[in-house]
């Protein structure tokens, strides 16, 4: 079914080890493990869109053939990050025997670095107790967020950012199949905008193709910049001009209308500060304040209160103070 998906990230998701671009060393090792029909627990660490989920899917399909769906559980830890998930879903799946002529099941825990520490603690016993019936593949962006006991139970594979040539290869395959015309400057643009994230590249490509089969640098550029919250600039301009109430209102509007998170807003503010028409000494001051507020946000404070407090500093900066 996935072979004929209409979503390109699925349609062009590599289905065999040979089709994966980049990560050659990892692919070779994992392929050999799968060949022996006995994989260890594995931890895939690396940036988004570099092939972690893809490789996990290839492994289970290679191991289980037609029975892969019954013997595979995929959980997104960033959506279900509490200890209950480990206690219930994971355990329930892990403790029952594998179906079909298969030695064990596989649980893929995507974005495992989002699991709370307690959930990770609960996981380590589960991993050991059910090794006989179940193997874990975990993915994460930063392996440092995975507690040591789990890392020590896994073989860790570090995925690298995809290189330009890898991404180019992928784009070419898709362009050919979908009959798109794309020039090298557009490819360049796609690569830059994606920051090595293959999923973003393919999504941008499909979105662009919905407008025209002629993919130009400008089209990609327009799509990419449409995603940037330009409204943040307006918020900051209101604040600098001294109209705090309007700035506050607009901020709330941006955050709620597009459900943008506080951390995304603060990233946009941090990038925007340097472009503001104010004295550079003030820019330094404001950036320092921005960093402090981001720190408070990360600590788990209320995003509205913190961002409004930051905006108040911009009002003052608007007066040259």
């Amino acid at each position: 079914m996935e072979n004929n998906s209409n979503i390109w990230t699925e349609k062009y998701r590599p289905k065999k080890f040979e089709e994966v671009v980049g990560q050659e060393d990892i692919i070779k090792k994992v392929q050999n493990l799968a060949k022996a029909m006995n994989i260890p627990h594995m931890l895939f660490a690396g940036p988004a869109g570099t092939g972690k989920s893809t490789l996990a899917l290839i492994v289970v399909k290679d191991l289980f053939g037609v029975h892969w769906k019954e013997n595979y559980l995929e959980l997104n830890a960033s959506d279900e990050r509490g200890i209950d998930v480990v206690r219930q879903k994971v355990k329930d799946f892990a403790r029952t025997k594998a179906l079909g002529n298969v030695p064990f099941k596989v649980i893929f825990l995507d974005e495992a670095d989002a699991l709370t520490k307690e959930a990770q603690q609960a996981l380590r016993r589960t991993m050991e107790n059910f090794t006989g019936t179940c193997r874990f593949i975990m993915s994460c962006n930063y392996s440092s967020k995975i507690i040591d006991p789990i890392q020590s139970r896994c073989v860790v594979f570090r995925f690298k950012l995809l290189e330009k040539k890898d991404i180019e290869k992928r784009i070419k395959v898709i362009a050919e199949k979908e009959e798109l015309q794309i020039d090298s400057s557009a490819v360049e643009m796609l690569y830059e905008a994606s920051e090595g994230d293959c999923r973003r590249v393919i999504n941008l490509l499909q979105a662009a193709s919905s407008i025209s089969p002629l993919i130009s640098k400008e089209l990609i550029d327009t799509l990419v910049s449409s995603a940037k919250p330009t409204d943040i600039k307006i918020v900051l301009e209101y604040a600098l001009s001294g109209d705090f109430l309007k700035a506050k209102e607009k901020l709330l509007d941006v955050m709620l209308r597009e459900s943008v998170s506080g951390t995304d807003i603060i990233k946009a503010i941090q990038k925007e500060v340097w472009n503001l028409q104010i004295d550079s000494e003030l820019k330094v001051k404001l950036t320092e304040k921005t960093g402090e507020i981001e720190f408070r946000l990360v600590e788990g404070s209320d995003e509205f209160i913190q961002l409004e407090a930051l905006l108040a500093s911009f009002v003052l900066a608007g007066r040259g103070m």
Binding site: I7, I211, L245, Q306
Partner: protein
């Protein structure tokens, strides 16, 4: 438990029809139902909590000397257990009393785990040799539609305030207690026609005294007190009184924090604004620390920054009169959530199909209206009409906003 220790609500539960007030119509209907049984085999008493549904049934049993066989939400009520319990009950004769009534209390409580419960109930109504009375708060749910057809329906209304006051006065006389008529009025108003809650509140007043109760229940007074608090924080000098200002209110610090956030921008400006917000921000940081570390001692700091911290900005400002506003953020968030619900459901379906988390899918969501732009892909994701409409609308908006038409061939 002696009679004396019983809660008022149990002690004075109506046992005879004459003790049930304000529901004369319903009393008549219940009597007629019993007298004409088995013309209709079951009766539904529906109405808000505390209007006398259960009382009517117990009174009926008492007055006609019938045994009451009761099943309520605390009992499992799926098909098997209903069958087991009720089948003998619907057949057997009672030993000492001449007859029986079966009471199915709180029927809205028949839930998912009570599988087949409603169906079995309907089957029982067809066979029963004893009258069945069903009570429910909301009988208009779809799952009860068949049941409604089989039963005689008696809706009960909320009791009027004067009747509630009458009931409360009666109880007070019997208890030999006196309380202020204003408090009685307040209790009656707050009860919104629910006798049970009125009697519970009366109990509270009898046990704890009137003052406690008045500050506790009156939303209006709560609001008055927050206005006074804001005045102290925003307008007077910072001293001992400021630091302890929140001790006099029942409002939670988190709610107070919303009030402060809403009103800071109109109260302060410039340096004072920054200073006030800095304190609010610090109070919030401590709140976060309380939650994460469960270290409640930090409450001192949250409260301090929220009171004295903000108040210390006051000396920087020129005094002006402002009308305090009630916090609007929660409402705005709620409204936005309603609007974003469609987007979220689309993103959820997309994330399931593409092996990514909802969070990650959200980051791609700005491209989704363009990617999910045809029937096949919408069918693949099982998108409903509303979701398709949302996508179409968004797609148009993106194309116009970014002038994408110029790229079209």
């Amino acid at each position: 438990m002696t009679e004396k220790q019983l809660p008022l609500i149990e002690k004075y539960r109506a046992k005879k029809f004459s003790e049930i007030r304000g529901q004369d119509m319903a009393v008549q209907e219940v009597k007629t139902f019993l007298k004409t049984f088995p013309k209709k085999r079951a009766l539904i008493l529906s109405g808000p909590p505390g209007t006398g549904k259960t009382c009517l049934t117990t009174a009926l049993a008492n007055e006609f000397n019938l045994e009451l066989f009761e099943l309520n939400a605390s009992d499992l009520r799926n098909k098997a257990s209903l069958e087991e319990v009720l089948k003998p009950a619907t057949g057997q004769q009672s030993l000492f009393k001449k007859g029986k009534i079966i009471l199915m209390d709180e029927a809205d409580g028949i839930t998912g785990s009570d599988r087949g419960g409603v169906t079995e109930l309907i089957a029982l109504i067809g066979k029963t040799s004893f009258p069945i009375i069903i009570t429910a708060n909301n009988i208009w749910q779809k799952k009860f539609s068949l049941l409604r057809q089989k039963c005689h329906m008696v809706p009960l209304k909320e009791l009027k305030e004067p009747i509630i006051i009458e009931i409360l006065k009666d109880v007070l006389t019997k208890e030999n207690k006196k309380i202020n008529i204003n408090t009685l009025n307040l209790i009656a108003k707050k009860s919104k026609g629910d006798v049970r809650s009125a009697l519970n509140d009366l109990q509270l007043v009898i046990n704890l005294g009137e003052e406690v109760f008045i500050t506790d229940i009156s939303d209006r007074e709560k609001e008055d007190s927050i206005f006074n608090i804001l005045k102290i924080v925003f307008q007077s000098q910072t001293d001992e009184k400021t630091i302890n200002v929140y001790e006099s209110t029942e409002m939670e610090l988190d709610e107070i924090s919303l009030w402060i956030e809403e009103n800071i921008p109109t109260e302060y400006e410039g340096k004072a604004l920054v200073k006030a917000y800095e304190s609010l921000s610090k109070a919030d940081v401590f709140k976060g620390r309380i939650y994460r570390q469960q270290h409640w001692r930090f409450l001192v700091y949250q409260s301090f920054f929220l009171s004295a911290g903000i108040s210390s900005a006051t000396k920087l400002k020129t005094n002006k009169f402002t009308q305090y506003k009630r916090p609007s953020r929660i409402l705005k968030i709620w409204m936005a959530n309603q609007k974003n619900a469609k987007k979220k459901s689309i993103v959820k379906k997309y994330s399931e199909q593409t092996h990514i988390s909802i969070k990650k899918a959200m980051k791609e969501s700005f491209l989704l209206p363009l990617i999910l732009n045809n029937k096949q892909v919408q069918k693949e994701l099982d998108l409903d009409e509303n979701e398709q409409e949302y996508l179409l609308e968004k797609q148009g908006a993106i194309i116009v906003a970014n002038n994408l038409n110029k790229f079209k061939l």
